[in-house]
Assembly symmetry: D2
Homo-oligomer: 344 residues x 4
């Protein structure tokens, strides 16, 4: 039983983490904090927590004082100082924000207009893509938990790139996200009468997940990978689906590709490579930690289409953070994450 | 061809009015205004107006100066001064807000915490329920355009009450409204991830449409009518549906009730009394000026259930305002309102 | 560890039961059956079960042979014969259909146009409203699991009626259900382009849950209770919300009512009486076994408005069935039902 | 005033055509037919037509007999015989199905598994993309009305390809369609509890619109164009949005591309090229005949992203059919198509 705490529990990712941790056998939630809502009950913000699960939001310092495993879910630029404290006190730190995801400070500066305060910290950071970096994560003390889009994309391309089966270095990724990805803050785009019965891309060729995606794909492929990444806003609550277009090498067959995917993930509980002919649908992963991947082939042009889908709040945020905690703490990797998705 | 203008065109009702007036043969829209957005194009707020229909939002005074028929769609308490100006200049005024709906200042004071600034003006106001007050509206210069809930309810009960077929003075009304009823302002309740897949009542026993409903029903019945009025927020964009429970007098049969409804509305283009056995559905009136009414009978308890549905933005606001303008100006009552609803 | 089986696992309630039982510590699912889909994998019908949770659908007899606790989720008229077999073999039987809910065969005949095949069986049936009939359920061998609408309504009125605080014998109930209530079968009404952005009542004054509701409310009140029950179809997946209108006795105050509700349910984990001023919303119980109740008062007419909401597939079907199994088998009543609802 | 008729008015496209034609000044609808529903009122299928717009569905022959301009909205393979009759009788024929869209019978055979019955007829067919083939349409007697996906895609690429500004012959098109595109027939995929809160691609690399798209794009570009076309099902009622990825020639700038688009469409009422920085959204074209196009540039890789959106039932079917009729009959091209989209 370890003592865990959440800094930034008032946002969606923080609240989802709280929801999932409540059912985790090996943890005690000792404190949850919020700068804006300290002193309020979490049920004041999220009425589903009313009753047996209610808890008071406190100050960030309270989490730092009481917990031994600390999750932070904050806007970029705010996590570093807490990670620093944790490092000094020998506590484990998992950041659900963007501060510990990028390998190069120059990328962080370019896309987030921010410098690193503690460059030394970042040498210790591990990118928390559980299935890919499992061994590193087990030994890590600071985790940069992957973004939601990058999780769906990197898991969707990992077997292909690792085995260098792609033809071009350029990959086109058309992603669609449910509205929880936009967070708790009110906005025109998520105002119901606007958002409902609507669909559109946004931040075309400029989304901040782009460098994270290219960084991880390039490492997998062991060569520079370029992505055209276009996110869209879906009028649903949860889920991300990425449709990925990639040319296959001339001498690679679709059957070989399928086999590689199957082999790569056959022992992975949370990654399901669907049978040929089936199509991934975000419906079938909602509220679970699964990543479903379906593979498709355009024989006319020897082109692979990968469809990869996750629940953006679970495998794309809070669920993967818990999976990483399980790895770091030597717990059963599945603990707290056995939610079975419904089909209706 | 008359010159019309809209004060408060930046809100949903004002924008819908603008949208509908654009296709009205007898009007020229000379000015539209917004306190908050003066100087902006209306397409900046509502991108569907981009291109051929775009127009610049100006100051309220601009509308008063240029138009001969003035619509106001403003928060309560703000219309009176403009109505006053119109009265002095012999211009016609249709208020889509609440300032000219209540007969008694005491009701306005109690429910809106506001006094009348120009009590004399209110002696001239006519309640713009087109089908019921047609003759008064034709001669009116100041119209209090009915609220959306009251429109669905009063049209749904008019034939019954006018013919005193109800048993009790107490009527239970369970209404459900789409989210456009909550307007353009952002709110927790209309934040997509909250509102979607959600449903709940609100302002139970305290909604400001209550006195308006009781006032009009009591006039129709020629006796005091009390309503339990409970509005709910539906996760759809448009439409109001009211399910109304009323006991029938012992000697009144359901067939008689149906006949009275049929007779009352047989010459009304915009009110459709559905055949027995059919059920009104807000789907089938959306984006139109229709009010659909279906009648149902619980023979075990001699109880009538009336289902009445409208598009809250059209018959419940902008459409009825235009219908009233048509009456006031001697135009064809249907002009500009012939939108045919789709079923999908 | 007991051996459980599900007859009729291909329908929504059966599949939800399967989903929830997978995470129950004390059971082993030994067989699931389907008349129409025997031989298929359940993931062929519900792709969210693909992978670790998949199981083959077998014949009904297979369930009867292998399981000691048998759930049936079948159209009315089909459960009795299986209950008979279970009785003879000393197995426990929980029926999620309508065959064991009504006390009088005459009611069953009137509303379901069917006779009892084994009238003796029905003397042993217990109505599985867990919180109300807990002691009887513990000793029962045949459970008639309550309907979804009746669950929301009876829990919503139990404290009031048991303490005879209502004035009239007539209660008006305006209920709204998500589309899973209509089941897996395709229909015009649940065809997306029709159902989406739609809302309407159905089976007005004729829904088959009516006698079940009146039966249970009358027993609670110890007097005849009449209900006007009007169900509506909500364009959401899950959840039922009932808005209930009931007059209070003259000498009963709203505070007294609130206190009685609070006292009645204070030790019930799954029933949450919300603080005064809060409003129940189906959002906040989805995918959980909670029933949320909020109480409201129209002081102008001394009228109580009860808002009661559940997830129709969980507390309204599969969840309550498991709760009843837990009671019958001496398990922790909460086992397998600790799902925490999300607010987004 | 011409006499028009619709063969196949019971499907969505036929019913939408009926709805729009009702408000067209120059036509009289003399007959509408349905093989399956002959003898029924159209309001039995689409209750929004109840009342003033109701009409009885008759036999196909009735339409052929009475109308001079005939629309057919039928499954592929059924239109040819009616087109033949029209040709012989000198009547105009617009086919909303697939029978008259493909130039080569071999493509039709490959993708539709069907032969032409009257090959001679197809020499007269004109592809009814109004803005592109206006002059041909004016003189045509048989129109193959474009598919919904092809309309959004061809209008979205026309200026670019006509001016040969693309680099590669391969274009990636990620399209998303509302559920009305799947038609009136019930299906698992459009069952509300499945479809709602869902999203997935379908018919990957095998959708029948593919040859139509490649055929028209190749003609525009005057060279072979290959497309990876992946349609997805969106949980909304109406609208198609295509996100199109195309590499620009090295010496072409984004500004030049934008200028070409602007110039090409500046006199087109129904095609709106949005200002730079704005993003097309299907919300803003719903229920209208507009096609909105926004252009985006990934400067890192000199890549153009075109976003093109229409209402699939209007510009993608019934609206464009009317636009073509207007051209063929010498009516005002905008007549009957001035519906202004709402933004909420």
């Amino acid at each position: 039983m370890i003592k865990v705490g959440i800094i930034g529990a008032s946002g969606y990712a923080g609240a989802e983490l709280y929801r999932l941790l409540l059912n985790h056998k090996n943890v005690e939630i000792v404190a949850i904090s919020s700068q804006s809502y300290a002193g309020k009950m979490i049920s004041d913000l999220y009425p589903s927590f009313y009753g047996p699960y209610d808890m008071c939001l406190s100050q960030d310092q309270d989490v730092l004082d009481k917990a031994d495993m600390i999750f932070a879910s904050l806007p970029h630029g705010l996590s570093e100082k807490y990670a620093k404290v944790c490092e000094e006190q020998g506590k484990k730190f998992i950041d659900l924000g963007a501060d510990f995801r990028l390998d190069k400070e120059s990328d962080y500066q370019q896309w987030y207009q921010h410098d690193y305060q503690y460059p030394g910290l970042h040498e210790k950071q591990v990118y928390g893509l559980s299935e890919v970096n499992r061994d590193l994560i087990k030994k890590a003390t600071i985790i940069g938990n992957p973004g939601c889009y990058p999780t769906s994309i990197t898991l969707g391309l990992y077997p292909l790139l690792k085995n260098q089966m792609q033809k071009d270095e350029k990959i086109i990724i058309d992603s669609k996200s449910g509205t929880t990805g936009a967070g708790k803050s009110l906005s025109e785009d998520t105002h119901f009468p606007k958002c409902n019965e609507s669909f559109h891309p946004y931040k075309i060729a400029s989304h901040r997940h782009t460098p994270e995606i290219e960084q991880e794909l390039s490492k997998m492929a062991n060569q520079d990978i370029q992505v055209m990444f276009t996110p869209h806003l879906l009028p649903v609550n949860r889920g991300i689906i990425s449709t990925i277009y990639v040319s296959l090498k001339d001498d690679v067959t679709f059957d070989e590709v399928y086999d590689i995917y199957h082999k790569t993930y056959q022992d992975e509980y949370f990654v399901r490579v669907l049978p040929k002919g089936k199509v991934a649908d975000l419906k079938f992963v909602q509220y679970s930690n699964f990543c479903d991947i379906s593979l498709h082939y355009d024989e006319r042009y020897h082109q692979l289409i990968v469809v990869s889908t996750i629940d953006n709040m679970v495998k794309g945020a809070a669920g993967q953070a818990i999976q990483n905690m399980n790895l770091m703490c030597g717990f059963n990797e599945l603990e707290g994450l056995m939610m079975i998705p419904a089909s209706f």
